[in-house]
Symmetry: C2
Subunit: 345 residues, 2 copies
DNA sequence: GCCACCAGTGCAAACGCTTCCAGTTTTGGG
DNA sequence: CCCAAAACTGGAAGCGTTTGCACTGGTGGC
């Protein structure tokens, strides 16, 4: 085929076959540890491959086999601490398993969402996908997921698919109860939607947990105490100002993420309020920086969740796992110095 | 070829061709906006494609064309704020350009580094790569980069390759000078290597900048004041303790990243030191959380750097750009409440 | 009115691998 | 020893695109 060799073009399977004195079929088998290849032959092929620095072309191999050795990860935002940690955990496992990671944020509307849609190019190029905080509203979405590429869903519980999540209701309840135990009665909540158009049932569950803890303490819900913080520092800051500058400011605030809690801390400082003296603050996540700033929080094992999700995926691809199974994960209350007994005035 | 249709298998280009009444070649051209396709034909093909939910198979297309429409990103750590921001910026642009993003952290030793090595499978599956904080020690590495896949290097200045960086020397100098201007004379520095085995010239440049500012103020260098903080919060905390618990503690500390500065803030609190009363702290980055904690810092436009890197990449791939060109970026001193005039005792 | 040229289209050869099917050689149980 | 079965290997047909080349018919310059 090719006249001159060794210039720019890489060695192909044909070259290896020639060098090892076998057919390309045998090279293909030998290199992928197939059975029915004599040890001596396998060795010879491997030597030849090494000598030629041969690496099978991924695209050709995918085309021929249908497998892409790539798993896709979809998340609404890439810059949140949560997403980052998940990705790091996933990458760790995938690297071990020699799989590639393709990343995508959901693009705009759900109709041309990379995950759904009748024939998404994203799905087409991955063997499986890990869905982080992707919201499933309609039955349609669920069906789409079920009938296509294997998926593991991280962040909420789904019945037909392998999923992985913490008990968000419980977590919010624990946080709120912690505040109640410290004597607080007027407790604000900062949560909300991640981005316009992006929803998830996580905020809903946490809101429910917060409300159920209040209900158990016979405190009636006050809608004015629930503010959207967009899951960002700045959003948390704004929400806190709204809360604290109101007519009946809370003495404690539960935030659905540590990042929003950081914003609350900032707002408190700006307003001259001391934490926890004038205001108790509790977050959710146990962000890497939470300890540094003494933030009380609900710890969830985010990086580990990424690892588990990836392992689940490799298991599914290897045919080793029951696909549709929900994996609950442990959480814990970490009390630090941002929460304290309500001071009597 | 295939007997029954429409069950599970996706529509292929042949199906589209049949439906539109043209050859596959025409379909291929029409769908990719090639010239020499009649408008009427193109329209007919597009309609057929839409009707069949046709999406060209990426692998086949890559194999045939040699282009992968994927760009790879390599970074030493995925969880640092810096990397995250870069990725977000890159993703933003790539999405626009309809390119995929393949992510990899460098695996272990430089010899089986995804970027280098005689025939890396990583390089093989991307059209170009963005290298974030990858260190180039030997000439060999540089050559490898030059002679292969187009690359844009982010984080340091390289001559033979498109690169993008801030003036790290200047940044460190600005930070240190800020501290000097406030009257500090004994100024610690926390920097160091990102991870064992991973080096970059960034810490070196910043160290040099720090030292040159001191030299300009006629302060002689004290090696005991330079500590490695591993670019993490915890590392910063440890380094700060070492510095502050020493025999002659500094009155100010310059950190090479805001994350390390957060650790310093934590250490100060733990040791009962007030910031900026007893200790001034300045970081580097302008981390999203820096403002929330009143951290003075050197701002660099990290997300924007990601965007620019990605645009540079798309330009190169489109043949629009001079490949080897260095793009310097602006930085700024952001003085907040973690730095203050040295208090006389 | 002729001819060179070009827009528009199709044919078929890659692209580099995987894998079905057959063919050949060993192996081992009876 | 014989024969069936197993182990090993090769040939060749795809996998679904892209693209060079060839072909056709129409157009405009002279």
């Amino acid at each position: 085929m090719s006249g001159r060799e060794g210039t720019t073009t890489h060695a192909s399977i044909v070259d290896v076959a020639a060098r090892a004195g076998v057919s390309v079929a045998t090279v293909s088998r030998a290199l992928r540890d197939h059975p029915h290849v004599a040890n001596a032959t396998r060795q010879r092929v491997q030597d030849a491959a090494t000598a030629l620095h041969y690496v099978a072309d991924a695209n050709a191999s995918r085309l021929a086999s249908g497998r892409s050795n790539t798993i896709g990860l979809v998340a609404p935002i890439l810059t949140s601490w949560y997403t980052t940690e998940v990705i790091a955990g996933v990458e760790e496992v995938l690297q071990e398993a020699e799989l590639d990671l393709l990343i995508s944020t959901r693009r705009g509307a759900p109709d041309n969402h990379p995950v759904f849609g009748p024939n998404s190019s994203f799905r087409q190029r991955v063997d499986g996908m890990i869905l982080v905080d992707v919201f499933f509203d309609t039955e349609r979405s669920r069906d789409l997921v079920r009938t296509s590429t294997p998926a593991v869903v991280l962040g909420e519980r789904l019945d037909q698919v392998a999923s992985l999540s913490i008990d968000n209701h419980l977590g919010a309840e624990m946080a709120t109860r912690h505040l109640l135990d410290l004597g607080h009665r007027r407790i604000g909540m900062i949560g909300g939607l991640a981005l316009p158009g992006i929803t998830s049932n996580v905020p809903e569950s946490r809101t429910a947990g917060y409300e159920s803890a209040l209900a158990a303490a016979r405190i009636r819900r006050d809608r004015a105490l629930q503010v959207d913080g967009h899951f960002t520092i700045e959003g948390g800051r704004r929400a806190a100002r709204q809360l604290l500058l109101g007519s009946q400011p809370p003495t404690a605030i539960f935030c659905m993420s540590d990042e929003m809690a950081f914003g609350v801390l900032q707002a408190a400082r700006e307003l001259g309020l001391s934490v926890p003296g004038d205001l108790s603050v509790i977050g959710f996540d146990d962000h890497t920086a939470a300890e540094a700033f003494g933030l009380s929080t609900i710890r969830q094992p985010v990086k580990e969740m990424g690892r588990i999700a990836a392992r689940l995926m490799t298991d599914i691809l290897g045919g080793h796992a029951a696909e549709a199974h929900h994996h609950p994960l442990g959480i814990a209350l970490i009390a630090r110095s941002s929460t304290a007994q309500l001071s009597v005035r």
